[in-house]
């Protein structure tokens, strides 16, 4: 039995909503999340805009402090790490952001962008030939020596994302949070990056948290998938299982809403059109957060909050239908 590399325990992050000097309430961005990410796997995290995916990713990397709860990385509480240990954690856990245009410093050349983390972590002492080291990273992400001394603006979106990935790999991390790494890219280039990420995972033994609202890419990348709705994990299952047997009404609606680039699929599909808008995460109502849009809602749903329970081996769902 492998131990989780990352574990969150009842993790919570509330952001105060202020108007002038009054606090009107709180955005429950992440609201009691318990997740485990196993060594070597890709855990996919899907959910609609604003449901808390990025906040969860940032909490796991200890880039922000939680309101309550904790994150264990390799068994250690990341919010208690200090000095050397913290630096070592920062080396082992990296992030790649969505926007390859703003995540790279436009005044820095590719060599410096990729080499900088080594200087910060004082790892450059171990490296004999910096240029060769950076070239080896560039080659890992499908770029070449000739790209070393160019600036970000000379590259296409897909190439910039490759540079960002090379930078994340520079410190030989074990875990990478991929926060919508291809959502700014076109389909033809997206496939290049996704395949590359899969290859790197295999060759370097990486563990990924893959965040996206594009469910088709999440399916392509992930071993297991967690579905998030308004700060909560509502379903968690093996990737294949989730698509074959979605249990939570929200997951069912979400999967049915995805248009497939296929004329056969269209005829087979019965679409669930949800009523209403995505509700605000500010001061969510008691009971199930999906209740106002749910097509299977019952009386109990307005009163009691459903807990995430394992209804079949490895398949977790938070919904009163399965209580």
């Amino acid at each position: 039995m492998s131990k989780p590399l990352v574990e969150t325990r009842d993790l919570r992050k509330l952001f105060p909503v202020r108007k002038l000097f009054r606090t009107l309430g709180h955005v429950h961005a992440v609201d009691g999340v318990n997740l485990q990410i196993m060594r070597g796997e890709t855990l996919g995290l899907v959910g609609e805009s604003g449901c808390g995916k990025t906040t969860l990713g940032r909490l796991i990397l200890a880039l922000i402090k939680p309101t309550s709860g904790t994150v264990l990385f390799d068994g250690k509480d990341v919010f208690k790490l200090k000095g050397k240990e913290l630096l070592e954690f920062r080396r082992r856990a990296q992030i790649v952001f969505q926007d390859p245009y703003s995540s790279l410093d436009p005044r820095m050349m590719v060599f410096d962008i990729i080499y900088e983390p080594l200087l910060v972590h004082k790892r450059h002492f171990h490296i004999e030939d910096p240029e060769e080291y950076v070239v080896s990273l560039l080659e890992k992400v499908g770029l070449k020596r000739e790209h070393l001394y160019r600036y970000p603006h000379e590259f296409s979106g897909g190439q910039r994302q490759r540079i960002a990935i090379a930078r994340a790999l520079a410190l030989q991390p074990e875990f990478i949070v991929l926060d919508e790494p291809t959502s700014a890219l076109d389909v033809s280039v997206q496939a290049q990056i996704l395949n590359m990420l899969k290859d790197l995972q295999r060759s370097m033994g990486l563990t990924y948290l893959y965040i996206s609202h594009d469910i088709a890419t999440v399916k392509y990348m992930s071993d297991r998938i967690a579905v998030m709705y308004l700060g909560k994990i509502v379903e968690l299952a093996d990737s294949q299982e989730l698509f074959e047997k979605p249990l939570h009404p929200y997951t069912q609606a979400l999967l049915s809403a995805i248009p497939e680039p296929d004329v056969e699929a269209k005829r087979m599909k019965t679409r669930i059109i949800l009523k209403g808008e995505v509700p605000s995460p500010i001061n969510p109502p008691p009971g199930c957060r999906f209740a106002p849009r749910c097509f299977k809602r019952m009386d109990v749903c307005d009163k009691e909050e459903p807990q995430l329970v394992e209804v079949e081996k490895g398949h977790w769902v938070a919904c009163h239908l399965y209580a």
Partner: protein, 337 residues
């Protein structure tokens, strides 16, 4: 043309659009030809920067400087829009032809109540006498786009509405005139999938009810498969393939289109299907590759591809493709024209 003649509402003929920038002349649209039939839903797909929006904005003559339509004709109901005086064009824009943009916030003025903004074009185009008369129609339109609590929402300011609701307001505005042709340019890129499903459902319903012609501009092949009767695929300023939807997805012919279909992840795919990316990236349109603009990325490229631009050819009824691989294939119209 083959088959029975169909009623053409819009015909784009040999359209060229350039942008004159400091870096050089961007040859954004490079000889686009397209017919749109009355009552159909046509999908216009392609990746970022391929020219979808510029083509559609040309129809409305809304190309901002430093852009310029350098050549071409655009026939709407038999009238060449590019030759109309601006005063006539204004009667068509936002009335007979409506345009829905990607970002609903950009289309709405933050300072005015949304109901007022829906009413304004009706007053402008003389469809109602006053704002007071318009209000009843605004509420009706809000009901037809299934806005929850229409009376209340009409009095709201844009920032008080969600992204999905704002897009409903924009659609209501688009329907406020004597709309015949609706151009929806990425109407759901800014909203979530469950909301996208609502809006697409709404657009299909409205199209049937009002017998609208709809051009759906998108990079989402899934939406096209679901919504459209025919699909045109653009690449670097050209339409490279045009076919009935089912035909295009079952029997794509252009190497780029085949490549695109092999590169999209699908939720129905089994776990071991590997995506096949298209190598390279989209060309710079200041120095576009000569001949076929796809040739640097094409695994089927031949010497002729670097020299000559392939023309659109009808290789099966209604199925057009611009690629030299089909030069020796008998075209539909060959021999009797």
């Amino acid at each position: 043309m083959s088959g029975k003649e169909r009623d053409v509402i819009l015909k784009i003929e040999d359209l060229y659009v350039n942008f004159y920038t400091y870096a050089g002349v961007v040859k954004a649209i490079d000889g686009v030809n397209l017919e749109v039939y009355r009552g159909e839903c046509l999908g216009l797909v392609g990746e970022t920067g391929c020219g979808k929006s510029v083509t559609m904005r040309s129809v409305l003559r809304l190309i901002p400087p430093p852009g310029e339509i350098v050549k071409g004709k655009i026939w709407f109901n038999g009238v060449n829009l590019l030759e109309l005086p601006e005063s006539e064009m204004r009667k068509i824009r936002g009335n007979k032809i409506a345009y829905i943009v990607q970002e609903p916030s950009a289309a709405l003025d933050p300072l005015y109540r949304v109901g007022y903004q829906v009413a304004e074009p009706m007053v402008y185009h003389g469809l109602v006498k006053s704002f007071k008369d318009a209000w009843g129609r605004v509420i009706q339109l809000f009901k037809s786009v299934m806005m929850p609590e229409p009376e209340e929402r009409a009095k709201a300011y844009p920032h008080e509405l969600s992204g999905g609701m704002k897009q409903r307001v924009v659609i209501a505005t688009a329907l406020s005139g004597e709309t015949e042709l609706l151009i929806a340019d990425e109407p759901t890129t800014a909203v979530d999938v469950t909301i996208q499903a609502q809006i697409m459902d709404l657009l299909s319903k409205l199209r049937k009810e009002r017998n609208l012609t709809l051009i759906l501009v998108t990079h989402n092949l899934g939406l096209v498969a679901e919504m459209c009767d025919r699909v045109a695929v653009m690449y670097a300023g050209n339409i490279v393939e045009l076919a009935p939807t089912e035909e295009l997805f079952k029997n794509p012919m252009h190497p780029y289109v085949k490549g695109l279909l092999a590169a999209v992840p699908r939720i129905t795919a089994s776990k071991d299907v590997v995506l096949k990316p298209i190598p390279g990236f989209v060309p710079n349109l200041i120095y576009p590759p000569p001949g076929c603009r796809f040739h640097p990325r094409c695994d089927k490229a031949m010497p002729i591809c670097k020299r000559e631009k392939p023309a659109m050819k009808e290789v099966a009824p209604g199925h057009w493709v611009a690629c030299h691989l089909y030069d020796n294939v008998k075209g539909v119209g060959d021999g009797n024209e």
